[in-house]
């Protein structure tokens, strides 16, 4: 398929880099300031080099990406809350042009799920968003394969928060100390509030709720509590009792909740480091656990490319 990539961060550039391996051509790449477009296929190496050296991805205006002969738009711009712009408008433009959309951006499917589904209904294009939940972990495709059998989902869906909690528990270090370390390692961003306040995990749970219940949830419907400033003594007390604390998101009985939870120290949910895990409760298949890398450029790009492989033949005329 011909792929247009919007967003040239870690995920976007990895999609550009790996698309060829999956048999796809990248015909457009755009970030917020410029675009590179070539209907015969762009040279991935040249784009990556331009981006790495701090330059523009191309010499066209970002808008030009929409004029390319693409079959699928990969939306990998940063997640925004509320109106989910500019991601939502990107999705709209592609669907109105009867193209497919694959999202890594959580905003449109967490905050405006109903709008996205309405646009999709009027379009020949299809929307998929595996990469928005759990990075490399095939969560949404598993749910789709289970055909309505999944009754509840829970899991550890933020690697930064999990890294902080597992380091605090393992080393007996304080919150601020571990957070600083996480920033040094590139595990936490300079402003980690999205991760440690639970917002990122909550968005993923909202998306899961939208998929499981076929209703429209937004971040406002989620009960969210983060792990910021959790004292080490809380983890020590949990450990004395054979437990530990993880930032767990739960989607069950129509509710979406994210918060620090006590889990068995050596239990399934107590993954360590930046790993993520998702547990699905099913009607006939019992409980399924899927864990893996929940973030990272190539990891998340692999989910984007898997979605592209699942798309029906091109919607483009």
């Amino acid at each position: 398929m011909n792929v247009a990539v919007l967003g040239a961060g870690a995920v976007g550039t990895s999609v550009v880099e790996l698309a060829g391996e999956y048999g796809h051509d990248v015909v457009a790449v755009a970030d917020s300031s410029s675009a590179a477009v070539d209907d015969d296929g762009l040279d991935a190496a040249a784009i990556l080099e331009a981006k790495r050296s701090g330059g523009a991805v191309g010499d066209a205006a970002p808008e030009a990406a929409f004029d390319a002969a693409y079959d699928v738009l990969v939306e990998a711009t940063p997640t925004t809350l509320g109106d989910a712009e500019p991601g939502f408008s990107h999705v709209r433009r592609a669907l109105e042009a009867d193209r497919h959309v694959v999202l890594a951006n959580k905003g449109p499917v967490a905050e405006r799920y109903e709008d996205v589904r309405a646009l999709e209904a009027d379009s020949a294009g299809t929307v998929l968003f595996e990469a928005a939940v759990g990075g490399a972990i095939p969560v949404l495709s598993t749910i789709a394969d289970l055909n309505g059998q999944v009754t509840a989902a829970r899991g550890v869906l933020n690697g930064t928060a999990n890294f902080v909690l597992s380091r605090m528990a393992a080393e007996g270090l304080g919150y601020e100390h571990v957070l600083a370390e996480a920033k040094d390692l590139g595990v936490a961003e300079a402003d980690p509030s999205f991760d440690v306040e639970g917002t990122d995990a909550a968005l993923k749970c909202v998306i899961l709720a939208n998929v499981l219940y076929q209703e429209t949830y937004t971040l406002e419907d989620a009960e969210v509590e983060g792990i910021a400033d959790l004292p080490g003594s809380a983890l020590e007390l949990a450990a004395e009792d054979g437990r530990t604390i993880r930032l767990v998101g739960e989607v069950s009985d129509g509710r979406v909740r994210v918060g620090p939870r006590l889990v068995p120290e050596n239990g399934t949910l107590a993954v360590s480091g930046t790993l993520n895990i998702v547990q699905l409760e099913t009607t006939h298949a019992g409980r399924l656990n899927i864990s893996g890398r929940g973030a990272g450029g190539p990891e998340t790009a692999s989910a984007v490319l898997a979605d592209i492989g699942r798309l029906p033949p091109a919607g483009r005329n």
Binding site: E225, S233, L262
Partner: protein, 174 residues
């Protein structure tokens, strides 16, 4: 267990130190057909709230026992613990915040007051004294079906006092 489903239970009560209190507390046991085995009246041992703990051993069927405990509670007798077998559910939470300054014993008392709930174990950790937030691990035991009520009480008190609650996962998950 003896015949007709009768079994022995231990009930721990708190009584006000006034004449007639003990007799009043024992009446529901006889009235409901329970068989009184022993009474341990700890007169020398006063609870923090100035009451006297009394431990009563009795034999009754499960239905009789339910009636007895309900009757004791409705007559205003504080039932602290009603036979360990009644506490079939357990709930561990960690509370974080200014626990001591927000009156920990009041918090614990309010958890107990929601009925069928008892505080089985408490560990407090305040490594930085009263300046920084402290943490407490709390094990609550509850009679069947009461643990969600206990959790609601914990959430309510915590919200009111500005404490954070690290809850266990919902039932059935691990």
């Amino acid at each position: 267990m003896s015949d007709a489903g009768t079994r022995s239970y231990t009930v721990r009560l708190e009584l006000v130190d006034e004449p007639g209190e003990l007799l009043g507390a024992l009446e529901p046991i006889a009235d409901s057909g329970g068989n009184l085995l022993s009474i341990f009246h700890e007169r020398g041992n006063v609870t923090p709230r100035g009451r006297i703990p009394v431990e009563v051993d009795l034999e009754a069927t499960e239905a009789q026992f339910e009636t007895i405990v309900d009757a004791l509670r409705s007559s205003g007798v504080n039932v602290i613990r009603a036979g360990t077998e009644r506490y079939s559910e357990e709930l561990t939470v960690v509370l974080v915040g200014h626990l001591v300054e927000t009156d920990l014993s009041d918090s614990l008392q309010r958890f107990r007051e929601c009925g069928g709930v008892s505080v089985a174990d408490l560990s407090l950790s305040a490594p930085a004294g009263t300046e920084a937030p402290s943490s407490a691990r709390l094990r609550l035991v509850a009679s069947e079906g009461r643990s969600s009520k206990a959790l609601s009480a914990v959430r309510e008190v915590a919200a009111e006092k500005g404490l954070r609650v690290v809850e266990p996962l919902t039932e059935g998950s691990a």
